[in-house]
Point group: C2
Amino acid sequence: MRIGIDAMGGDRAPDEQVKGAVAAREVLDEGDKVLLIGDESVIRKCLEDCPGTHEHVEIRHTDQKIEMGESPVEALRAKPTSSIALMAELHRDGQIDACISAGNTGACVAAAQMRLRRLRGVHRPGIAIVTPTFWTPVAVCDVGANVNCRPSHLHQYGVMSSIYLRVMCNIDSPRVGLLSIGQEDAKGNTLVKETRDLLKNDSNIRFIGNVEGRDLFRDVCDVIICDGFVGNVVLKLIEGMAASVLEGMLRELAESMPSQAKAILQASTDLRGKYDYNEYGGAPLLGVAGICIICHGASNHRGIMNAVRVAKDFASYHVNEQITKLLSPDRGTRDE
Amino acid sequence: MRIGIDAMGGDRAPDEQVKGAVAAREVLDEGDKVLLIGDESVIRKCLEDCPGTHEHVEIRHTDQKIEMGESPVEALRAKPTSSIALMAELHRDGQIDACISAGNTGACVAAAQMRLRRLRGVHRPGIAIVTPTFWTPVAVCDVGANVNCRPSHLHQYGVMSSIYLRVMCNIDSPRVGLLSIGQEDAKGNTLVKETRDLLKNDSNIRFIGNVEGRDLFRDVCDVIICDGFVGNVVLKLIEGMAASVLEGMLRELAESMPSQAKAILQASTDLRGKYDYNEYGGAPLLGVAGICIICHGASNHRGIMNAVRVAKDFASYHVNEQITKLLSPDRGTRDE
């Protein structure tokens, strides 16, 4: 398998991207390669700082890159050989089998949709992220690929995320909840109300009904379905709040028991580890005809290495084949 | 001033509602009354358990009440003399000057809209809640009154919340942020993009642009504007997460330093106090022709008492008059 990594995308690029590519050796099989896409001289310099051999690492040069704040579609148009655009093209042409980027998420999604296209029967791709909720990880889909959703999109997110969790996380029959503002059927906006019946009537999903924001932390479901706008707000809220609460706790404790400052810091670090996105290794863009793994912008080398692992598993468990089986219009009966 | 309290609404009703009404004496002026609306015999029994004199408390009997899970509109139709419906009617008829309820939020909103109607020029009322975000309180509007928003609704939430914060919280020129998924203008769903210009072009608001979920915890704005669906998800997420993180921190610390368990528990309690909704005393439903304060379902007597204080301030600072001044169609020029 050949896995592309956007060497230029992310807050800590290219250093952590290159280190991650090197570290990925431990999750690769014999013959597997990672292809770093970006400025060759910069990448080579980073590689020199990495100990060990790097036979599994290749480089594909480009001097264009898309910045984090750029408008995705405009940037892709203005920079046709940016690392993100080039990577999607290489994937389309079969020169790599997967894309990994911690760069501009919107540009990754747009490049994947334009170059790789969608799987047959999929209306809109969605990003499924396993959110670090301290105790029981919950997958949320979509978290930003599709901010103007229709009921059929949400329904398909339920189907695709269920497959993903089943094969990748070994959850036998994932419980799917629809994010709303009350458990009762009547609660929610128009989108949620119109989505309910689609989810209810699909025997391929274990739909448990509406869930609320607080249910992310109560082990009531394994997948939470929402539109990409709400999902993205939720994701950033969790991240901001986790940092804020931990900082607050440390401040309170440091005042009340200064002699224990070291132990408190350690406990806080341990807790932080439980919501460390680097351990989750990136979120798949479900529904595209390829493998596209999107990493947190602040990912370190562990995050990139884990994304390589996710891409490997995604391929070997045939996630896309299973999605097509359920969503493609010529799939035959559902029980086949 | 006469302030109505729904004695039957809330997870801890009627006990905490009655205790709150009694405790409210300390925030009332001479001649002010609170009117407890609900089952008279039950309320009387609760009153007997409250020490002190209760001359400021009156009772208005009804034996109908709306449960938390009921569909608002159906429940209001089926129970025309429920405490919530009756309270709104009493307000409309001038027998009370404000409504307070910790009961079914949807029913409160619907009753207020139907019985009290909207202020002139207001398109949709919205609930503005000052969220306990540990360090710097931020008002979020709307958090559940209006789940299918239009740009003009969000714009008016910006105007009304700014007035509310200015007069009630003494914030001179509140910074208004529009909740989105990135700071750049181009980021967001259709609703957000169409709302931006309305906010930008209104010189009555200090609009700072898009904000993200994490900005709730970073003191970048005083008001966050969003549709009621997103706002409600955010609110419940914060609540669920705060409890979850504190519990997690306690667990980590209890393992690493068991001898300090007591001090840790105290620090956690202190921190919890900083996000205690009871101290904020309920959220106003902005835009109705009256005063309607909505409390957290789990409010205790302090929460109810503080809601009485909010209702008093709302009246004495003439919040509604100021909203009408800016939003009423016959308001003349904006600079008058």
